[in-house]
């Protein structure tokens, strides 16, 4: 079994160790702003443990997924700022 998975962050391929969280893949892709706040400010992960909801992204067209609690799967399509 390969020990890495490849996901797509805003159209760019990112390879991560198996078991990695989506939030880590987004940051590795060089993206810090995961979403826009209600007043339009850029935001990224804060708590890292599923409590703050700041790291929400769109995964495979499903909006508002908590990227810090979602494990990367091969071919996952991840979009920020939506």
């Amino acid at each position: 079994m390969p020990d890495t998975v490849t996901v797509v962050v805003n159209g760019e391929l990112v390879t991560m160790p198996v078991g990695s969280m989506v939030a880590a893949a987004v940051l590795k892709a060089g993206v810090s702003a995961f979403r826009k706040s209600v007043s339009g400010q850029p935001r990224g992960p804060l708590c890292g443990m599923g409590i703050c909801f700041e790291c929400r992204v769109t995964i495979d067209f499903e909006p508002h997924c908590k990227s810090c609690q979602t494990i990367c799967q091969n071919g996952m399509d991840i979009r920020t700022d939506e």
Partner: protein, 418 residues
């Protein structure tokens, strides 16, 4: 939407050390036990990622015991509602799950306390445990410049972890004073294990400045963090960094016990000697009963598990271990008490509630959190006050008056199942 049924003698909520210890003791006594957690794997925060790749001997020993026990795990489940005593409802990404049980052990752990200061909402400003969790989750940190700030022993553990993974940790800013910390160290004498842990950390962290009486006054940057401004005494200076890892000690996760009606005592769940809460057959252990660290969580978990299995005499034999750890917890929490100067970090336009972007100045005319909620929606976004709640308590003395279902944002379809 499909609905799963899970039926057991004892349901444990939380797969961190306290929950695992409780479940182990329940299974050992022949009762059926299910452990539910919202994370994809066991370990909680302190043992995050160690179920598969264990680094600590203590964690390894516990995971070995767990693997050899009859325990059913239900991961990725967010409990959001009580249907009736003995029945809880949770949801996963795919379905709804109804738990039926005779006894409940709550081990929901703690979260970091965040205090608002100018720039704290910038991307790459994270919790100390938050950044560590992301690195454990695969974030490459080697060569990144990190400033660690806030309060509590977690800062040291995070510094050690990040340094071992190649981060360039510039410094640790601890808000508490040196004399307070010295008294705390003195109180550890006689606890050989804690002293050796502290000494080991100290030698591993040599080369990283540990500044007491020091805290961040601003995080600077336009669309992401560029630098942090620190203050110590009358000196203020700026440090460039890629990440600011900042948390002000910990606060218990109380939403579930509050939903069930468990009485609180000083911001933690009140329990009797057997870890039973004010609600019959509902036990609570670990950080949820007050911040006290790993060893206290484990022994509380064991006591709760034994008591929930009607093994009160065995539970009683662990009281002395717990009482010793509780003394440590008391000393710990007084050492890292927040200084009042931190209340003035916030500026009028600093955002306090990050979900609804409510600024400090909008809250000043309110006299309670309820009034603030009604006027500004503070604490009413997706996190339901989990982040700003501890901040407004520190800044204004406001406390959450009630917790209502769903305790977590849940799908309408799942709520209809109730």
């Amino acid at each position: 939407m499909s609905r799963r049924q899970l039926i057991c003698d004892v349901l444990v909520i939380g797969a961190g050390p306290a929950g695992l210890a409780a479940a182990y003791r329940v299974a050992e006594n022949g009762r059926s036990v299910v452990v539910a957690d919202d994370n994809p794997d066991a370990g909680g925060q302190i043992w995050r990622g160690e179920a598969r790749n264990t680094k600590s001997n203590e964690a390894a020993a516990w995971f070995e015991k767990i693997r050899n026990s009859e325990i059913e795990f239900a991961y990725g489940i967010r409990i959001f509602q009580q249907l009736s005593p003995g029945k809880l409802l949770g949801e996963t990404d795919n379905d709804v799950c109804e738990f039926s049980y005779q006894k409940l052990v709550i081990a929901t752990g703690a979260r970091e306390r965040f205090l608002p200061f100018p720039g704290w909402t910038l991307p790459n400003v994270m919790g100390a445990g938050g950044l560590q969790a992301l690195v454990k989750g695969g974030l490459p940190i080697a060569g990144k410049r990190v400033v660690i700030a806030g309060s509590g022993p977690l800062l040291l553990a995070v510094a050690d972890y990040l340094k071992r993974h190649g981060a360039d940790v510039s410094l640790i800013a601890e808000q508490t004073s040196r004399p307070k910390l010295a008294r705390f160290s003195f109180s550890l004498l006689g606890q050989t294990q804690k002293v050796s842990q502290a000494l080991r950390l100290r030698s591993q962290l040599s080369g990283i400045g540990y500044l007491t009486g020091c805290w961040p006054v601003a995080a600077n940057g336009f669309d992401k963090l560029h630098s942090v401004t620190l203050r110590r005494g009358s000196r203020t200076w700026e440090v460039e960094c890629d990440y600011l890892a900042c948390g002000f000690h910990l606060v218990p996760n109380l939403e579930l016990p509050q939903l069930l009606g468990c009485r609180l005592d000083k911001d933690a769940v009140a329990v009797d000697d057997f870890q039973e809460t004010s609600v019959a057959d509902v036990y609570c252990c670990g950080e949820t009963t007050g911040i006290g660290g790993l060893e206290l969580s484990l022994v509380e978990g064991e006591i709760a598990g034994l008591a929930a299995s009607d093994k009160k005499e065995l539970a009683r034999s662990l009281f002395s271990v717990r009482n010793k750890q509780q003394k440590f917890a008391t000393a710990l929490n007084s050492a890292f008490e927040l200084r009042s100067e931190l209340k003035s970090l916030v500026a009028p336009d600093t955002i306090v509630c990050r979900c609804e972007d409510v600024q400090f100045s909008q809250l000043q005319s309110s006299d309670s959190w309820r009034a603030a909620k009604l006027h500004t929606r503070c604490g009413m976004g997706p996190c339901q006050g989990r982040i700003c709640g501890a901040a407004v308590e520190f800044l204004f003395g406001w406390q959450a008056e009630s917790v209502r279902p769903p305790v977590l944002a849940a799908r309408v379809g799942s709520i209809r199942e109730g």
